[in-house]
Amino acid sequence: MTSLTKRSKVVSNKKMTFWEKIYLPAIVGGMWITFGHLFKKKITIRYPEVKREFSDIYRGKHVLKRDDEGRERCTACGLCAVACPAEAITMIAAERKPGEEKLYREEKYASTYEINMLRCIFCGFCEEACPKEAIFLTREIVKAGYERDKFIYGKDVLVEPVDPAKRIDITRRQTPEVLEFKKDKNQRHNVH
């Protein structure tokens, strides 16, 4: 029967000739290729000193964004956690008390929000699921560490600073289509 994919190779048991049996020509041929690479451009870089350019859609450490007035956008709706294929996200919701309107945008907020960076696979599904434009993946690398519990990032690490100068830029995560959608005043979450 012939193969349907035609990707399989038929193994032959043919006898090698004397020229093939001594192996020397094959070894010399291989060495010649190795030698030739000395004069070619290196494909490796010396990492800590030299860093590579990231792709535009690189997905690194998460950030919990604040809105223009410095209020936390996250409402602990849990959609990121249910979308997360690695089950890395956990949160506890709390109700906003009177007087906290400048801290949290809506009547519910996340009192704790944790991402287990050992579980996270940086797929970006949380970002896609978020209805409040709160969570984004940044270009920052999650640093290596020696202790496992240091990898559970809480709100102290994830929420961006209030200071407008220290805000984390996520415009690279927002394609022209996304930005256009955000200008649409018919969408209620844009008005807020």
């Binding site: 409402t75 709706c77 249910v82 649409d184």
Partner: protein
Amino acid sequence: MLRITIDNILIEVEEGTTILQAARMIGGGVVPPAMCYYSKLKGSGGKCRTCLVKVAQGSAKDPRPMPKLVASCSTPVQDGMVVENKISVEVQQAREGIVELLLLNHPLDCPVCDQAGECDLQDLAFGFGMEETETIEPRREYPVVDIGPLIKLHMNRCIHCYRCVLTAEQITKKRAHGMLYRGDTMEISTFIQTAIENDFSGNMIDVCPVGALTDRTFRFKSRVWFLNPMNAHRECSSCGGKVTAWMFGSEIYRVTGRKDRFGELEEFICNECRFEKKDISDWVIEGPRKIKRQSVISGNQYEHLKKGSIIHPIEGTTEPQE
């Protein structure tokens, strides 16, 4: 017996049955969605218009079609009636319009709302809603009110279905709340903010198709899709004691009544069962409820069943587990 054809399916029903009830006897996709009709509440139905169907043939005697779409929850069946629901484009388009009107003043605060994930309006909007709103007018806004120590009222989310008012009227002897004003400005209210203190008042939460009435003891505790709905029962002096316990690990986060496949309560449960018994030792846990695969609640469920345990599925049948 009257013969009625709904979406080309013939069924015989007794006199006095409505089209919606006949469709529910057939079950499956031919059942029109209903936001205000509740089979256990007398006088419910006819308000939300989501159950509109087309009557292509009025009866065997008078085969003319009815001139307009009719509300299937309040139209009685006539012999030889031919009804179109899912197969009629007109009905589907009308339903899209109805959903748009229901969502006209709805705040769409699903990320905050405790009802999200088990909300009839959310399902309806997912099925028939448009992606964008056509209005630029501001939505009506009311402050959030506590009606009693156990129930929270978000009037913003209300769709004026009257179910809670009818529940209060029927289940309890002394009605403590009703509708004020009319039309767009209609509002559920207690008489001068009187607390609702009836023993069965908590059923209003389950009856509410949206998140207008929510459980204060469960407020913002978790989302429904992180919890495991379990069938549980206990000896109760005032109600049947058969409930759904929504569990997270070995903790009971909230207790609701058991809902059948049309989203209606099988039995009303008392406030003691609903709000006070949150300890696992209060209940006999029977086993996990079967969740519809389409439901978001099924997303994170891993069922562990012991041999011989029984599921009481939402789908209405009881089946032994292998």
